[in-house]
Symmetry: C2
Subunit: 211 residues, 2 copies
């Protein structure tokens, strides 16, 4: 009994009976496995739905790190987040089902606050670097939470509108909400340029009106 198989069986039951109405015992029984074994594969019932979200997150961090410094903060976030949420067509159906559970089942909605936190911190780290502030300070946190909010809104829009494209919704939502952060970044860049001699900050010169 592999973790993947267990997840599949669980999803089947969730689809047939609903998430809350499906007990861990049912999943274990259906899989022909002891209840205790289920909890060795998954830390919790909610974990089944979230799958390998945490590992996936490293890709977002890496992708953000690879963005050239001349790309504006808002654009970098938008492009990377859209990319991060690109799902291979073969998995689209399962992804949709997964997100529908996460965004509609109360237990999972609640759990999401914890899961998204790691996502948010990745974005805050990037924003902090760009704004020249610690990632835990107010503005990077605001940027990260706004990006997160926009992404969730986009997901809900996608689920509510059959036929809509997730990536378009994400792009539109992020464009809409991040457009206000350009000024702050311009100022941060100016600050860092006067503080450090040219060239000290890698490849960054010549991007904008401040030059």
């Amino acid at each position: 009994m592999s973790r993947d198989e267990l997840e599949r069986i669980a999803f089947d039951l969730f689809a047939r009976r609903g998430f809350s109405e499906t007990t861990v015992d049912m999943v274990a029984d259906e899989a022909g496995v002891a209840r205790r074994t289920f909890f060795r594969y998954f830390h919790s019932k909610n974990d089944v739905v979230w799958g390998s979200f945490d590992e996936h997150l490293d890709k977002l961090r890496a992708r953000l790190a690879s963005v050239p410094a001349r790309t504006a903060l808002a654009e970098a976030l938008r492009v990377c987040i859209v990319e991060f949420n690109q799902v291979p067509p073969a998995e689209l159906r399962r992804h949709r089902k997964r997100m529908q559970l996460i965004l509609t089942v109360p237990e999972l909605q609640a759990d999401s606050a914890l899961r998204y936190s790691a996502w948010k911190d990745v974005v805050a780290e990037f924003a902090g670097a760009r704004l020249g502030e610690p990632s835990g300070s107010l503005r990077p946190q605001v940027v990260a939470r706004c990006a997160l909010g926009a992404a969730i809104a986009a997901y809900e829009h996608w689920l509510a509108s059959p036929g809509s494209a997730l990536t378009s919704a994400l792009d539109e939502a992020l464009r809409f909400c991040l457009s206000g952060f350009a000024g702050a970044e311009r100022e941060a860049t100016r600050r860092s340029r006067t503080a450090a001699p040219a060239g000290a900050r890698g490849r960054r010169e010549g991007r904008g009106p401040a030059g």
Copy 2:
């Protein structure tokens, strides 16, 4: 045994032993009341901490409704949200403790997603009216989620920096994140003005180009 008294006893125990380490039985025992009675006063253990959040929310809705139409969306939200979070000095200590629990205890962080949802919907309703869109559509939802994100970031900043003022943090965070929405509102206003005669869009009639 009043609800208030029970809440006080519970907070005492939470402070002394931590939230997770305090069982409902302990609170009930300490209050000299049956476990079942506790659950009649509070729907759940988490409910104790959240207090009367839901009722408080009506005030935000009313306050938003009272904002003159000429005030910009971003400014209206900022002012109302800052006001909404104004706490009388006598309750500041308890409010701080409450928010510290909510923002640091995992169980409560998780629960927050559900509680904030009502808050978010109040804001989305207002934003939807201003943007000339249903409150459930993408942009009002993005505005609301961004405002929510900014408010939470402000709260975390406030808790992390002793001596800082909550209202200043909220004002700064909201100013920072909502500044980008001005363009969208301008356009919506222009649209509605060409579609309906002046004055019609005061508080709700003619809520769309479909007329």
